[in-house]
Amino acid sequence: MASSSSSPAPPTLTSAYAAPPPTSISSQIASTTFTFPTYTSFPPFYTLQPNLTTRARQLTLWSNLLTTYCAHHRLFKLSLSFLPANLFANPSIHRTLSQPDIRTVLDHLALPANGGRVEWIPTSSRSEKPNSCWVYWRTPAEWADAIYGWVDETGQKGAVLTVYEIREGEAVQSQEWRGMDEELLRKVLSVLVKRGKAQIFGQEETAGVKFF
C-alpha cells in the first residue's frame, strides 16, 4: 500500500526510530511515515569526519540510514541527480551532505568489506563516473533466498513463472520484492541460476523461469 518508490512520504522528526533490522526476512508492512533516527539531527553527521575512527562510525551510521530508508520506501535504485529530498539532508538544522561526500559515502558502502550494500551501475562511457547505484537493503543473495523460499512455500517448484509475474503478479503483492526493478530481478534470478535452483529460458520480454 505504500506508493511505488520514487516519492517518499515527508518524514517527521518524532520519537526514537523503530524500524525492523535489515537482516530479518519476515514480511512487514512498512509504516507510512519514516521516522528519522536521532543521529540525523546531529550536525556533524553531515560532515565527513577527518578522524578516521570517527569516520568509520559515521559511515556505519550512514549505511544504516540508507538501508533503512530504502527498505522503508522500497527504493532499489538511487540516482545522484534525483536524490530523495531528506535522505542526505536535514533542512531543519540546515545541513546537507555535499555531492562529493555523497559519492564517498556510496563508494564506501560499495565495498564488499562493508557489506556491499551499494553497487554502482556502470555508465555507457568509461570516463564518466556512474551516476546511479543499486541499494541492496537486501543483497541479491538474500533476495534469491527469499524468492526461492516463497516458491517453495507456495508449491510452485517445477512450475514456470514469468518474470513479470514474479515482479508484479497478484500473488506477490504481499511480498517484499514486489515492484522490484527488472534488472535487479534478473540479477537475483541469475544468482539462483548459478546455484542451480532455477532456469531462465525464452526471450527478454517473455522470459520464463522455472524453479527446481
Binding site: S41, P43, N51, T54, R126
Partner: protein, 638 residues
C-alpha cells in the same frame, strides 16, 4: 662559616633580596670542606651576588642548596688547578671577636678546639656548639731536626701564641721547635679534623665519648679499629693502639676510614664527607668551591670586588646627604614614606605645594645623578626606587619618554633581573650556560604572578607571542634572538622547570604550564560543550533520546574556534589547534557548514552502540580510502 638554607625561585635560581644584585654565575662547581668533598653538593651552579655566594645543586636543587653570607667571609684563597685537581677558591670565615669568652659562641673557631679546659663554664651555657674533641690528641708536630713526631700540647692555642709562649722540647732530641712550626702543625691538625654535627650532640664532654651520631656512622663493620698512624687493626674496645700507642678515638678512626675509602676509589681525588646536613653546621670552618669547568679567575675577581664594596652594609647605611634640599628630609624614599608637610597648610594649596616639592626633588636627584656617573652609582638606590615607581605608573599610562625608558632599562639590568652575557665567563661552556640561565629567566618571567602573563592568555601562549612580550620588556637592551629563545625553550624539560613547550600537529609551538595536560584540556572542552543548548535547536524536542547519549538536553552545542578562544581566553590560533587536537583524540567531531566549522562532542560512538551496529576499524577505512584513490587514478588513466 655559617651555611644557610637557600630560597629558590620557581626556576631554581636563588631568590635575591631587594638590594641584592647578581654578579656572576658559574656551573660545574663542587663544594669542599677542608680537604673533603661534601657529598650531594658536587655538581651545581654557583651564583655570586653582592651579598652572598650561593650554591644550587643540579640534581636536587631544593634540598641541596646553600648560601654563605659575604659578611661572614674574612678572606679568600685561590688555588689554581693542577693536573686532575681543578681550581679552587677557599673562603675563610671571620672569627667572632668574643670567641673565647662568649657564653654563646656562634662559631667554633680554631681556638675553641684547643682551649677547652678554660672554657668549661662557658660551655655549659652553650646550646649548640660542638663539644669538639677538645684536645685534639692526635695533633702532632714533626721535629725539624730529628723527625720524631711529638704531640702538640693541649693548651697550645695558635691564635694567641707569641714568641713568649713556652714550647715543649722534642722528646727525642730535646730541642724546642720554632713557634711558626708549632702553629702550622696545630692548624694543619685542626683543618684535617673532620666536622661533626653540632646540634646533635648534647653531651658536653671531651675526649673520646659523646660524638653523637657521628660515632654511629663511623662504627666499624668489622669490629676492628684501624690505627691511624700505623694501620694496625686493633680490637674494638681498645683506646690506644697496641703497636704505636696512638689514640684510637672514634673521631680519628673516621678520619682514617675516609682516607681508606678515598684510596679505594681512584676516580675521585679527595675524600668525601658523609651524609649529614651541613646547613647550620657550626664546625665547618672553610668552604672551598671547586671549579670544574673554569671561570675561577673571573669569580675570584668579582668576589674580591664584592668583598671590598660591602654592599650589604648599604642597607643599614644612612642615606647619602643631598645638597640643596630645603627641608631636613634626607632622601626621596623618606619623603614618600613619611611626608610631613613643611608648613601645615591644608587643602589644595598644600597638595599643590607637596606636588611641587616632589617634582623639585625629582629634578634635583636626576640632575645630580646624571651629572656624574660616580654620583649615579652612589645614589643608585634612590634612582632605582624612583624607576620602579615610574615603571608602575607607566604600566598604567601610555606615555613613556625616552629618558624614562633608558632609566628603566638601566635599572632593570642593575636590579639583576636579567642575566646579561657579561655576567658569565668566556668560553664555549658559557653558551650553554647562557641558554640555561635564559631558560630560567623565562620560567621566572612566566610564573611571576605579578605580571600574570600566562593567566592573561588563559594558561597557554604561543612561543612567538611570548618572544614578543619578553623582548618588549627588555626595552632595547639585551634582546634575545629567536634562535636562542627556542633553544632556551627546549631546555625547560631537561631543567625540570614548571613550564613546558608543546608542539601541535601543525607545527605551532606553544608554552604552557607543566600541569596542563591534554586530558585536562579535553575534559574542560567537553564539559563546556555539554552545557549550553542553543535556542534554535531546542524547539525540535529532544525529550526521548536513546539512553546512550550522555547529554540530557540534546547534543550540547557546537563551538567555533572563535567562541572557544573567547571562552578560555586563548588566542584564536591556539584555540583552533586545541580543538583539532581534541578531534584527533576522538573526543570531538567537526561540523562544516556555510557558517564555518563547529566542533561538537563526539556522539557517534554512542549512536553506534545504541543501534548495535558493527563498525569497521579505522585502519580498514584508511585502506579503503587509499584503494579508492588508486582505483580512481587508474580509471583516469594514470
Amino acid at each position: 662559616m655559617f651555611l644557610r638554607q637557600l630560597d629558590l625561585t620557581p626556576a631554581l635560581r636563588p631568590s635575591l633580596y631587594d638590594d641584592e644584585t647578581l654578579l656572576f654565575v658559574q656551573d660545574a662547581v663542587g663544594l669542599y670542606e677542608g680537604k673533603f668533598k661534601i657529598a650531594n653538593y658536587q655538581i651545581g651552579h654557583v651564583y655570586l651576588t653582592s651579598h652572598r655566594i650561593c650554591y644550587v645543586d643540579n640534581v636536587e636543587p631544593r634540598t641541596y642548596s646553600i648560601a654563605v653570607n659575604l659578611k661572614d667571609v674574612d678572606h679568600t684563597e685561590f688555588y689554581a688547578g693542577f693536573l686532575k685537581s681543578s681550581a679552587k677558591i677557599t673562603l675563610f670565615p671571620k672569627t667572632p671577636k668574643n670567641a673565647l669568652r662568649s657564653p654563646v659562641p656562634k662559631y667554633a673557631s680554631p681556638s675553641d678546639a684547643l682551649v677547652r679546659p678554660g672554657n668549661s663554664p662557658a660551655r655549659s651555657h652553650a646550646p649548640s656548639p660542638a663539644p669538639a674533641p677538645a684536645r685534639d690528641i692526635n695533633a702532632t708536630w714533626i721535629c725539624p731536626i730529628c723527625g720524631f713526631s711529638n704531640a702538640v700540647p693541649t693548651n697550645f692555642d695558635p691564635a694567641t701564641a707569641n714568641q713568649h709562649t713556652k714550647l715543649p722540647a722534642c722528646q727525642a732530641c730535646g730541642i724546642p721547635p720554632p713557634l711558626v712550626h708549632m702553629v702550622k702543625a696545630a692548624i694543619a691538625a685542626i683543618s684535617n679534623r673532620p666536622a661533626h654535627s653540632s646540634s646533635k650532640t648534647g653531651a658536653l664532654s671531651n675526649g673520646t665519648n659523646g660524638r653523637g651520631s657521628f660515632d654511629v656512622s663511623s662504627a666499624n663493620a668489622s669490629d676492628e679499629i684501624i690505627c691511624p698512624r700505623c694501620t694496625f687493626g686493633n680490637h674494638a674496645s681498645l683506646s690506644t693502639c697496641e703497636i704505636c700507642g696512638a689514640s684510637l678515638t672514634a673521631m680519628n678512626n673516621r678520619h682514617s676510614q675516609l682516607i681508606g675509602d678515598s684510596i679505594a676509589r681512584p676516580e675521585s681525588p679527595g675524600p668525601t664527607l658523609g651524609g649529614e646536613s651541613i646547613i647550620g653546621n657550626d664546625t665547618i670552618e672553610t668552604i672551598k668551591f671547586s671549579f670544574r669547568a673554569g671561570g675561577e679567575k673571573v669569580m675570584l675577581e668579582r668576589l674580591n670586588e664584592a668583598l671590598v664594596q660591602r654592599k650589604w652594609l648599604l642597607q643599614s647605611a644612612p642615606p647619602v646627604p643631598k645638597p640643596g634640599l630645603a627641608n631636613t628630609n634626607g632622601s626621596i624614599s623618606d619623603l614618600y614614606s613619611t611626608p610631613p608637610p613643611p608648613q601645615r597648610v591644608v587643602g589644595i594649596a598644600g597638595l599643590e605645594r607637596r606636588g611641587a616639592e616632589l617634582r623639585k626633588n625629582n629634578q634635583t636627584v636626576i640632575g645630580s645623578a646624571f651629572e656624574d656617573l660616580e654620583a649615579l652609582m652612589t645614589s643608585a638606590k634612590e634612582v632605582i626606587a624612583m624607576a620602579e615607581q615610574f615603571r608602575s605608573q607607566n604600566a598604567s599610562s601610555d606615555s613613556v619618554t625616552p629618558e624614562a625608558r633608558a632609566l628603566l632599562t638601566d635599572s632593570a639590568s642593575a636590579l639583576g633581573l636579567s642575566t646579561t652575557r657579561d655576567m658569565l665567563g668566556t668560553g664555549s661552556s658559557s653558551e650553554t650556560l647562557y641558554i640555561t640561565e635564559l631558560a630560567r629567566n623565562l620560567a621566572e618571567f612566566l610564573t611571576d604572578d605579578r605580571r600574570g602573563v600566562l593567566r592573561r592568555e588563559g594558561g597557554i601562549i604561543s612561543l612567538v607571542d611570548l618572544w614578543a612580550v619578553f623582548n618588549r620588556l627588555r626595552n632595547g637592551i639585551e634582546l634575545v634572538s629567536p634562535f636562542d629563545f627556542e633553544k632556551a625553550a627546549n631546555m625547560w624539560e631537561t631543567l625540570h622547570l614548571p613550564i613546558r613547550l608543546r608542539q601541535f600537529k601543525s607545527g605551532l609551538l606553544v608554552v604552557q604550564d607543566r600541569s596542563r595536560t591534554d586530558e585536562r584540556t579535553i575534559a574542560a572542552l567537553l564539559s563546556w560543550l555539554r552545557q549550553l543548548v542553543p535556542p534554535q535547536l531546542s524547539s525540535d524536542g529532544f525529550e526521548q533520546l536513546p539512553p546512550a547519549v550522555p547529554a540530557g538536553l540534546g547534543f550540547g552545542h557546537g563551538a567555533t574556534a572563535q567562541e572557544t578562544a573567547e571562552r578560555f581566553s586563548w588566542s584564536v590560533g591556539v584555540a583552533a589547534e586545541e580543538l583539532e587536537m581534541a578531534e584527533d583524540t576522538g573526543a570531538l567531531c567537526r561540523d562544516q557548514s556555510l557558517d564555518g566549522t563547529r566542533y561538537w562532542e563526539n556522539c557517534f560512538e554512542d549512536f553506534v552502540v545504541a543501534l548495535g551496529l558493527k563498525v569497521p576499524s579505522a585502519a580498514s577505512v584508511e585502506q579503503m580510502e587509499t584503494d579508492q584513490i588508486m582505483k580512481n587514478l587508474e580509471s583516469m588513466g594514470f
